[in-house]
Symmetry: C4
Subunit: 234 residues, 4 copies
C-alpha cells in the first residue's frame, strides 16, 4: 500500500541525520497521497539506523492507522491538521534542529535579513505562541496544528510562500509540495536561523532587507517569470 | 568477571568520541552490577583508540579495585558516591563536553527553555557550587560526589527525573538506568546547553517554558501514560 | 571548446562543498580565458553531486551564451561586469558561506583584526550598500557588478590586494588570478569573518591591527620581497 | 640526518589538520634534538596533503639551514628564539586555530575558568602585546620570539607550567617536551579558548576558578604526587 510514497518518506526521514538536523530520534517526516487522502509518517521513537521503508505508518485524515505495526510519530496529529488546512502541501517535517529551535525557545520571529532567506521564505519566519494550559492538557498535538493554521490565517500568510514556522518553546515545522521539498525547506530554515543569529550579534541595530530586494529574490526563484535553475531539469 | 558489563561499559565509553563529547581522554563511563555491588569503569588517561573491553577496571563500593591491571578513572570516587546515594541509577558518565562545561564554568543552572529539555530533564539542570578549599584538599573526588548528592537532597530533586548535573568550574555528570542511557543523557545535556546558550543570545529577556508545557513533554515520554515511542520495542 | 578551463572551473565548483562554503546549489565559480574573451561558469541550480565538466556554460563578455545546453548561473551578469572592469582577475566565486553572509546581512565591513586577514586581504573587507529599488528592478545582477566596481573605484581599492567583497543583505564575492585562487580567497574570507565575529564578542572595544603589522604580513606573502612559501614550487 | 625526528615532526604536522587546527598551510610544528642543537621544522607554504617526512628542513640554532631543499617555515626565527630561551622544551607549534586566534585578535589573556584549563595550563594564558613598528620592520619573527621570552620572564611564568601563549593580532604558539606534546597543548588551548568564549557569554560577571581548584587539578596531572593516568603506560 502506497509503497512508492513509503520509500520517499523513508528517504526523506533518512536525510534528516544526513543534513545534521536531528539528534537521536528527534524529528519526523510525512507525505500525503491527496487522491486517497492517506498520509505516510515515521514511526515514533525509532532510531534512524534501524528505520526501514516497511516501518512507515499509513494514516487517514481522521487520525486512524490504516497500515503499519508501529505507533506513528507522537506529532502525527499536528501533521494531520496541517494537511487538512493546507491543501497545497504534500510533505511535512518536524525537527529540533539547533538554531531554529533556539529561535523558537527565544520566542521570536526570524526577520528576513538577506537573500538566502528571501530566496525561499517570503517575509519573516513566524513564531507562534505557546499553547495555553487548556490547549496543552486537552489535545496537545492537534492544538499545535490548529494554532499554526489559525496564525497563518490571522497573519494572511500563504503556506506556499512561507513554508516554515516556529512553535514557541518547542521547535520548527517545515513543509513543501512533497517530503523532499519539505526537508529542503527545513535545511533552509536552519541556515537562515544560523545566519540571522550571527548577523544580530555583528550588528545589534540591524534592519530587515528592503522589501524590494525580498520581492526580487523570491520572484527570481518562485515568481511567474522565475529565471533561476533549469526549467528542463525540473 | 562481569564480562558482559565490561563490554557494555567499553561500548558506552567508545560512544563518547563518536558523539563528539570528548577530546583526548577527557571523559569516562561506568556501570554497576547492583547484585554483586561491583561497578566497572574506564581506566584513567587511556586513549580511546587504544581502549579494549579487557582494560575496564572492576571496583567495589568501598573503593577497592577488585579486578584490572590499570588505575581506574581519577573520578572513580565521584561515581562511587553517586552509586551509593542513588540506588535507582545503573550507569554514570563524566565529560568535558563543550557547551555543558561552558555553563559549568559560568556557574549557572540551565533553565528549561523548551521541549527538547523537558523531554528528558524535569526542571532546570542544577549547577552545584565549587568545593571549598578544605573539600578540595581533603578528598576532592569523593567530596564532589557528596556535594552532588547533598544538593539533590536539599533541592528535592529526583535523580531519575533530573539525570544530569553541572559542577561549577568543572563540568557535567550524567546518569541513567545503565551506561547506554547515561551516555544518551550526556548527549541530551550537550544539545540542551547549546540551544539555551543561543536562545539567551537571541532574546536576553527570555523566560523558561511554562510549567504545564514542561509537565506535558516530560510525561509524554516518562509518565505513567507515556505515549512516545514503541512499547513493544523497549 | 575551452575543455581545460571547463575542467578547472568544474573542479573549483566542486571545492565549494568540500570546503563547507555552500548548502545545496548556493554558489558558483567561473573563470575567464582572456585571449578569447570567453568565460566558463557553472549552470544555474544544478546539484553539486550531479555536476560534470561538460555541463559548464561558455559565455562571451556581451552576455551571450557561446556553448552549453544549460542556463548559466543566475549571477552570470555580475561575474561578467567584474571581468570587464578588473582585467587582472581570472576567476570569480560567489557563495552564501555562513559567516561572510552574516556580515553582509549585518551590513558591515570586516575590520582587519589580525595577520590571518592581513596575509591575504589588504585593509578591511568592504561591504557595498544594498541596491536601490530602481537598480534591483532594472538589471539586478548587472547592477550588482556595477556597484562593486564603482565602490572599488571610489574607495581606491586594488582588486588584487582586496580580492573579496560583501554585498549588503546578500553575500560575498571573491576572485583571484584563476578559479582555484578565487576559491582559496573565498575560504580565507569565511575564516576571517568567523574570527572577527568571535574577536568582537571577546572584546567589544577591539581595535584593528596596527597598520605596520598589516603591511608586514601582506608584503611577506605578496610584496616584491615576499619570503613566504617556495618560489620554486609556484 | 635526524631521520627519526623528521618522521615525528612530519607526523605532528599532519596532526594539525586532523585536529582541525589549520586551514590550508596556516600552521607549523618543529622539534629539537638537544644533543646536536639542531631542530627540524616544516617547510614554508607546502600543502599538508603534499607533505612528506623528507621535506622537513633541518636548522641550527644560529638560523642556518643544515639540510633540506625547501625554505623553512617563515616563522622559523620565532621557534629558534624559544628553543634558545626555554631549554626544557623539545617541540613547538604555531597555528591560526580559530578560537585561540580570536582571543589573540581581541588582545586578551584567557582567564582560567575551569578544570579543563587547569589540568594543562597553570593560570591564565598570556596574550603578549603587538610588536612595535621598529620591532616589526627590523626582524619581525625573531622579535616575536624575544617578546614571548621577555614577557614570560617579566611575568615569572614557567614555560613548562604555561606551555601556550597568544601573540596579539596574530595567533597562538604552544610547546611541550616534544612535537607530539606541543600539538596536544595546541588542541587543549583551542578547547579552552572555545569554552572561555562561551562561558563569558553565558555569564558576563564570571570569575576565574578559585586558586585552590586550579592548584588541585594542575597537580593531579603534573605535580609530584600526580595520580592521573597510568604511570606504567608513560
Amino acid at each position: 500500500m502506497l509503497e512508492e510514497l513509503k520509500q520517499k518518506v523513508y528517504e526523506a526521514n533518512m536525510d534528516l541525520p544526513r543534513y545534521g538536523l536531528v539528534t537521536f530520534t528527534w524529528g519526523n517526516v510525512s507525505a500525503i497521497d491527496r487522491e486517497s487522502g492517506l498520509f505516510v509518517i515515521k514511526p515514533s521513537g525509532v532510531d534512524y539506523d534501524k528505520l526501514t521503508p516497511e516501518m512507515m505508518v499509513v494514516m487517514d485524515l481522521n487520525g486512524n492507522k490504516v497500515e503499519g505495526n508501529l505507533n506513528p510519530s507522537s506529532d502525527t496529529a499536528t501533521h494531520l491538521e496541517l494537511y487538512k488546512a493546507f491543501p497545497e502541501i504534500g510533505g511535512i517535517v518536524h525537527t529540533h534542529s539547533s538554531y531554529a529551535t533556539s529561535w523558537a525557545q527565544a520566542g521570536r520571529d526570524i526577520p528576513c535579513y538577506g537573500t538566502t532567506h528571501a530566496d525561499y521564505i517570503y517575509g519573516p519566519v513566524p513564531c507562534v505562541r505557546c499553547l495555553t494550559k487548556e490547549e496543552i492538557e486537552d489535545a496537545y498535538e492537534e492544538n499545535t496544528g490548529h494554532l499554526i493554521v489559525n496564525e497563518f490565517k490571522r497573519l494572511g500568510k500563504d503556506p506556499k510562500a512561507v513554508p516554515v514556522v516556529l512553535c514557541k518553546n518547542h521547535g520548527p515545522f517545515a513543509w513543501g509540495k512533497d517530503a523532499k521539498e519539505a526537508v529542503h525547506n527545513a535545511v533552509v530554515l536552519e541556515e537562515v536561523a544560523k545566519m540571522a543569529y550571527r548577523a544580530e550579534t555583528i550588528n545589534p541595530r540591524i534592519q530587515p532587507a528592503p522589501q524590494e530586494l525580498q520581492d526580487k529574490h523570491y520572484n527570481r526563484k518562485h515568481g511567474k517569470n522565475a529565471y533561476y535553475g533549469q526549467t528542463t531539469l525540473k
